[in-house]
């Protein structure tokens, strides 16, 4: 039976996640529409959401995700970082209460948030140069599609969803159906936008210039549909009667992933509607470079902390966590060094840090 305090904390976490998603959408609209007045609004919403989440900071298992959300909210509001913070808020609210705290994971969370900001600034620089917004939006759709496929070992492809809790498998058929539809919608949006971007022969006059306005319109609507379906799927997973009195740990990460998918897909649409995205490409690029270096420093600090924790707790500094964080730090270092494919490299570094936090 979930206690009253536990239920209240869950509600606070969900409200915080909603706040982060709202802030990410406001930030995306503000950037795309060239309305600087929306940025303080987005920042205020994000800071309030982060403040609510601080209540969960006392839970050792929630600390890395709280650290991620707080670091994502502190600097200038960026859509991707805030969307990921929404997922982190959900996970922070649903992880088990007991467990050992880990400074290394908290540092990894902070590094991952900085990595998300670096990737956001790279995307802003890309769009500020007048490039086609269909590519990043298509990538967002493809990422959301990949997230849905990754849930429950790809069973969304068979219109099925469930989690293994202890030794039993708990099936949620309603969520399986909606996840299948989400997969189709996000994949359709990604393919339509990607095909339209490929079909644009010359450099586009603006980020919304299209070879086929119909394809772009359908792709945009497919992404919005996928965002709505992700939200419904998240609700079905959260309220599944199969869970009984206890929420399975395996479903916690799935819920966080679905909330991230909602944020990603929602933020992918505003740039497609903009005539021209204003911004300082050079300033964004330089900020991304500085953030990338910071990510490496914090990631190395996380490796050092993990090595110390491993030696104190398990007797060896070469624990699986140390290795994962070291791999993530090397990825971040590669992203900070490379002169080409910076966006993809920074996305890879972010993925490495998130995987290290979640495993």
């Amino acid at each position: 039976m979930v206690s009253g305090l536990g239920a209240a904390l869950r509600i606070a976490a969900i409200a915080s996640a909603g706040g982060f998603i709202a802030a990410s959408i406001v930030a995306a609209v503000g950037l795309a529409a060239g309305r600087p007045s929306l940025r303080p609004v987005a920042r205020a919403i994000a800071l309030v959401a982060a403040a609510v989440l601080l209540i969960l900071g006392a839970r050792p298992a929630a600390q890395p995700f709280v650290a991620f959300a707080v670091v994502a909210a502190l600097p200038a509001p960026q859509p991707l970082a805030l969307a990921l913070a929404g997922g982190a808020a959900v996970v922070a609210g649903l992880v088990p209460v007991t467990g050992l705290g880990s400074i290394s994971l908290a540092l990894a969370g902070a590094a991952a948030a900085m990595g998300a900001h670096a990737l956001d600034r790279s995307l802003s620089a890309y769009l500020a140069q007048g490039r086609d917004a269909a590519w990043p939006s298509s990538a967002a759709g493809a990422t959301a599609c990949g997230v849905v496929i990754a849930l429950d070992g790809g069973r969304a492809l068979r219109w099925s969803y469930g989690v293994v809790s202890g030794s039993a498998r708990l099936d949620v058929p309603d969520a399986g159906l909606v996840l299948g539809l989400t997969l189709l919608a996000s994949l359709g949006g990604a393919l339509l936008l990607g095909a339209d971007a490929l079909a644009v022969a010359d450099a586009p006059a603006g980020p919304s210039a299209a070879a086929s306005p119909l394809a772009r319109s359908l792709g945009r609507r497919a992404l919005l549909l996928a965002a709505g379906l992700s939200l419904i799927a998240a609700g079905l997973v959260f309220r599944a009667p199969a869970w009984g009195v206890a929420f399975p740990v395996a479903a916690t990460k799935d819920l966080g992933a679905l909330v991230v998918a909602v944020g990603l897909l929602s933020c992918a649409v505003p740039p497609l509607l903009a005539e021209r995205i204003r911004g300082d490409a050079l300033d964004d690029d330089q900020a991304a470079t500085v953030l990338s270096r910071l990510v490496v420093v914090v990631a190395l600090a996380a490796v050092l902390a993990a090595a110390a924790e491993g030696w104190l707790r398990a007797g060896t500094y070469l624990t699986p966590l140390t290795q994962r964080l070291l791999a993530a730090a090397l990825l971040a270092f590669a992203a900070s060094e490379t002169a080409r494919w910076r966006g993809a490299a920074r996305a890879l570094a972010l993925a490495g840090l998130v995987v290290a936090m979640l495993r």
Binding site: S167, V296, A307, W311, R313, G315, Y317, A334
Partner: protein
């Protein structure tokens, strides 16, 4: 050398090292030669970082220090496990090589005995000769005779296996253990306390209670080997082709044994120093 120290080359080497370092992509366990390749790549990476102007060279110094420390511990360090039964003094531990390969027994330097097992999983170890006592908990390792001892876990069950229809014998084994019964060497590869098949006909355990115990065994005799399945409810159900013996799971017996991991890493401090220097080098680089 100049080409190696370019940003693109360094980034590619860092990417390759991240792939082999990750424990989720076990490249090192696939072939022993991979370790040599990784060592060479690490050396190139370090040289490329060192071939830079200070303070960026500091990153190379830190990386070199860390790599040397890990290599030293890989060669001169020790790791293994020790199984303790309450009241029984033990002076050795099972040395393990890369990939968990067992290398035999190694002296611990002191006798240790389990004095108590607390409800939260903390093990109280006594050292009769040193007249000392240490506590090892799931969240805190301890130093015993120069070794770091940690990760206590209870070993709950032993499977009683009987070999018949020829050379006969009986052995009690825990999951992952190897023993002899009759003329066979048997290893319990996997144990299912409450065996069932899922919708994909894959085996799993419905619970941790021994309601329907079953096990997958690796059986060898000389150069021949077999994979056998035993289930207590259906004795002799599986007879691998070529094996002229019947293996039966007679019963499961509760076990009070405790397993602890044992490590000795003389270069641990150096590894930490290397990481710190590398982080300072990155922070101090031109932004």
């Amino acid at each position: 050398m100049r080409r190696l120290s370019t940003s693109t080359a360094v980034a590619l080497m860092a990417l390759a090292l991240s792939l082999v370092t990750s424990p989720d992509l076990p490249f090192l366990e696939r072939h022993p030669a991979v370790t040599g390749v990784v060592a060479g790549l690490t050396a190139l990476f370090v040289f490329a970082l060192l071939d830079r102007r200070a303070p960026r060279r500091l990153v190379g110094v830190g990386a070199a220090t860390f790599a040397l420390a890990v290599a030293y511990d890989g060669v001169r360090g020790e790791q293994g496990s020790i199984t303790l039964v309450p009241g029984e003094a033990v002076r050795t531990f099972e040395d393990e090589g890369p990939g968990g390969r067992r290398l035999g027994l190694r002296p611990l330097g002191d006798a240790i005995v389990v004095e108590a097992v607390e409800p939260d999983g903390t093990i109280v170890l006594g050292q009769p000769e040193a007249q000392g006592r240490v506590r090892v908990s799931p969240g805190r390792a301890a130093t015993v005779a120069g070794y770091r001892v940690g990760g206590p876990r209870r070993v709950g069950t032993r499977l009683v296996l009987r070999v018949s229809a020829g050379a006969q014998g009986e052995v009690a084994l825990r999951e992952g253990e190897k023993g002899s019964a009759g003329d066979l060497e048997i290893t319990v590869a996997r144990y299912f306390p409450d065996f069932a098949l899922d919708e994909g006909q894959q085996p799993f355990s419905r619970s941790d209670a021994p309601n329907n115990p079953a096990a997958l065994l690796d059986v060898t005799r000389g150069t021949a080997s077999w994979r056998a399945f035993v289930i207590r409810a259906l004795p002799g159900i599986h007879r691998p082709k070529g094996l002229d013996r019947t293996i039966t799971l007679v019963d499961v017996a509760p076990d009070e044994a405790v397993v602890l991991s044992v490590h000795r890493e003389p270069a641990a401090l150096l590894a930490g120093l290397g990481l710190l220097v590398a982080a300072i080098g990155v922070a101090w680089s031109r932004w």
